[in-house]
Symmetry: D2
């Protein structure tokens, strides 16, 4: 059988190179083309020695493929994707360019006018746990951001079930690779090591995406969401601690309520290959290098608040792994193909 | 002039040895005695090579001192302090044994019956920013916990001013030294490195202390506080991100409200040598190795919530440095004596 | 076809649990039994949440298997292996108990009398790059230590070729996971983070193993080897920097000599699936989580010394991965089966 | 008494800002002027929040001072220093521009023709342990590099005493701050974390400096030195492991030889305030944030080699602290003034 040909646009960032690592182990596809501007003309294995088994040269333009992953920054991604769509190529876009349904959001949050607002309705938000059916036939899949993946998977069950009030606080802690491979003082080793800080206090770009999806789950009723990301000294991993008031009377008090809550999560994610409901407070290390998201819901009985914690690897379930999961759904491969490896511990 | 003689009970933990580091540079006192069980009989400089300039032998029993710092674990601390108090020795207790005013709290949170509940009313909570006057003449100063110091300094101004509603969430991130020098799988290098996790989800022992002090600042009106600590892969530092709803009408909307909020903090901490109101989101690195606490208050205008972030070094302002600050107040030394060194960066 | 049944003795250490991670992805075998003393009776997935897909209970005794991996400490390993050998079970021993050919070495380096010295001659040193043929039919394969693997692969080609004099210095830098999962102050997070130190200055237990194998490669002529390991603040990875005087006249001077040297390594490791000759100074990160060993030979022209640097992941090529490579050779599976995944970067 | 006025040229690098941290605590001087190009016009405390107590504005030109510290890169440093020298200002140069005595070395190692070769003879190599007398009256003090400080202090006693043969290997491990505050992929957090690598294999710029000074100590007899630096994932600290053959007959065999060796070091560094001879393998953590250098000499009895390990903080004894030590010597202040603080542990 002929293998599906796939390509990676902008392989030289961390999401792009993580795609290459995972795709080179995928039995159903052929990694046929990888692009990158600054590194065009170089062998992929020379730029990234850990990929020495891949025999590909980085090119400026994408070769012939059936599906393209775009790992470009926002705005540039849409520009390069539009011509591909016209040729009928399917696209998984890791940038934010097709995640938001309201064209105005691109102006206010990303500072550009969307070049193809008419395509936004047909683009599918690439969270298989919520949109699996739509992904199957989508031409454009908008791969969710790393923070939104952790926040939405944490909160979806209780919002869907009407268990919580609208006052939601999402306090996220991320490793540094989420900030990408582009240099900056904020990701300079000596500045980040032995340090933690909050950032984007006036509004992180992942907030509208979280708000859009959680509001949909809330049947359109407005939510009041505060999302504060933090940078911590590690390379991979996101842990989101989510706080929301429990609607009185929805759960039995005491330990029984905790069991009901846990069962709600087990039911919601039943059969999901990449979401696990932990039995105790989870560690990002338990997801390191893998496509798994671990969710732990619990109750602060003193205050009647729910606390839901989720962990994932920002470059896998938060980016490249989820993109491949979407591809698997799009092409009808078993969903775990090529991305089922367990986390690397310790 | 004769120097004040001070001693450290249990010098071999991280708080104890940090006291030794700071006290050996203090010009007004003489470090006269250091105790430790397992290491009794050894030279302090042999156990801790970074203190090679200190010529002291660790003993089992405390020698003659004017003031003792206790760096023992809870329960043991009270037991060893009581005989000292009878001899008229002043004590700064780094354990929790004299922080809580309600004797019942020791049973429910620490699992022991307090051996001297009659002393609790006279013990002073050792946060100089709130209790400076009482510390001057105190015989027992209960040095606050590291998390409470960060949380109380962050929230005191707005609670005192009636600016926030009772729904408070404190999400804290701590370096590993806060867990002490005692071995455990949770502080084993390969387990903690490249990892973040929440812990104590059913209630951390620092919660009653936070609740007690913030409720007092709230004139006794009850607060609904959720406090979740997280362990992150660094040695020193705590960053607390505090969330609370702004009472409508208390601040002007928009940028002006931010200025008013900042001014409130500047006024509240006016003249305080160790609290700084940052102009931007702070980093724990900006407090590393020092007694400073940096506080940054801001407003989430989308939701009408206050976000107040505080940073400190858990072993200095969160333990040993604050203990010395208390001693300075007790003996009338200038408050920054011996603890005024700037943070070590990077 | 019936799968080969394998078991892991002492799955609860880092080498043991890494075996489990890799074996659960191996298509040709069935992980049938895992043992561990303290954790006996618990589900493997409960002790190690990253292995939640493995449905096995840890037992005190090994079940029925065709091959056993022993991840026990030395001395205990031999004791548990001997009865297995009598039953005809094949064994890959990750401990040191069958690596050294001279029974006296066990007394002087490990402090115990070997219980079965008659088996030492038939045990095969499990470095496939040197002993592949013997491994095929071996009943006992003595998996090399992590440091020896890095040192021997670095130096074998030049010793075999008679290129260097006997004065060899091996300066190795290791991540902390090499010290295992057992607690100790030396692996306590706050002690190791932001620290580097040399250890075992009077002789590390891996020295006799290095000496034995390099001397064999030197046709029995004695070598004068100094080996100093260092602990550095990371979890996985070993980098060994090896220094030795170049025998005059063996290589052309200048750049041409470097090419000859590189070619010697390319030839020596031709066809080897897990050894790569780097084109520039390598990074341990380029081997992280994988079974690859990267070797970089170069010349210090000022002094006429060779410098050979090797990198590997101490838990994979330095332990569990190499053990599985040996198993693959023993059972005639393609050598990369189950262990061919590229390194995880960054 | 009027305080000595000092200035820092290029305060915005790590050496420059470390000078500022230490100088603001120095009781005998006034930090009168700090320069920096990109940050000129900004408050020092705004660029570096940890220095919020310093009230100075960064300027483009140096103000009136008695002594200037130059923390500029090489070549630029000499250019800016020359006019100061003409005005009679004393200078401690942290760059390499006055360290090497042979003008040709600047061409071959640094790629520029020295602008004032006539000044090289009068510039004093600023290692107080070797050149204290000359520093007292020097106008230009060339502050040694971080690696050379560690290597020279480790090897000086045995070379001076004729104890070792000429074949010296220096294997150094450095934290990342030594690479400075300038951005680069090699110091990008996600690249350095969980990684170790050797670099500058064809010759590091600190090699000629090490060779110059050790050869002088060897009374001009040539040495054959290989120096390989490594980058390890921590912010501060250098550990150098030095290997050299012991000249037969110079030391008693066995434990007695070790004692003689240790005594040689104790004697050589007698009275030195910042060099400590450790009793066991040292850790860089035992020097963190301080001006101390810890040296540990031992013997590899199997091979007759000496192994000497030294540790220091690359930004203090390896840069800013040593520069202030030199200033103290130049102005007759007690040598430990302002830099006597013990290391910060853990």
């Amino acid at each position: 059988m002929k293998k599906v040909k796939v390509g990676i646009i902008n392989v030289t960032g961390y999401a792009g190179v993580e795609l290459a690592r995972l795709l080179c182990q995928h039995p159903e596809i052929e990694l046929a083309s990888v692009t990158g501007r600054s590194a065009a003309g170089q062998k992929l294995a020379d730029v990234f020695p850990h990929l020495s088994d891949i025999n590909l040269t980085i090119t400026a333009e994408l070769g012939k493929v059936d599906l393209a992953f775009s790992a470009l920054p926002h705005k540039e991604s849409a520009q390069q994707i539009l011509p591909l769509l016209e040729k009928g190529i399917r696209v998984v876009d890791i940038s934010a360019d097709f995640r938001l349904k309201d064209p105005a959001d691109y102006v206010s949050w990303y500072g550009f006018t969307h070049p193809a607002p008419h395509l936004l309705p047909q683009a599918v938000f690439g969270l298989p746990e919520l949109y699996r059916k739509q992904i199957v036939s989508a031409q454009i899949v908008a791969n969710p951001g790393c923070y939104p993946t952790s926040a939405i998977l944490a909160l979806a069950p209780v919002i869907k079930a009407g268990l919580i009030g609208p006052d939601i606080i999402i306090d996220s802690k991320s490793g540094v690779s989420g900030a990408g491979r582009t240099l900056g003082l904020g990701t300079h080793y000596s500045e980040v090591n032995e340090d933690v800080s909050a950032y984007a206090l006036t509004g992180h770009r992942h907030l509208p995406e979280i708000t859009q999806e959680l509001t949909l789950l809330n049947q359109g009723r407005p939510l009041s969401i505060t999302f504060i990301p933090h940078l911590i000294p590690m390379t991979r991993g996101i842990l989101s601690t989510c706080y929301a008031p429990l609607v009185p009377g929805k759960l039995t008090t005491g330990k029984d309520g905790e069991k009901q809550l846990r069962q709600l999560y087990l039911d919601f994610y039943k059969g999901e290959p990449f979401v696990r409901i932990a039995a105790a407070a989870p560690h990002t290390k338990h997801t390191w290098g893998s496509n798994f998201c671990v969710v732990y819901p619990t109750i602060d009985h003193r205050t009647g608040r729910l606390i839901i914690i989720s962990c994932l690897d920002n470059l896998v379930k938060g980016a490249a792994g989820q993109a491949i999961q979407n591809m698997n759904v799009m092409f009808g491969f078993p969903e775990t193909t090529g991305i089922g490896a367990p986390p690397v511990y310790p």
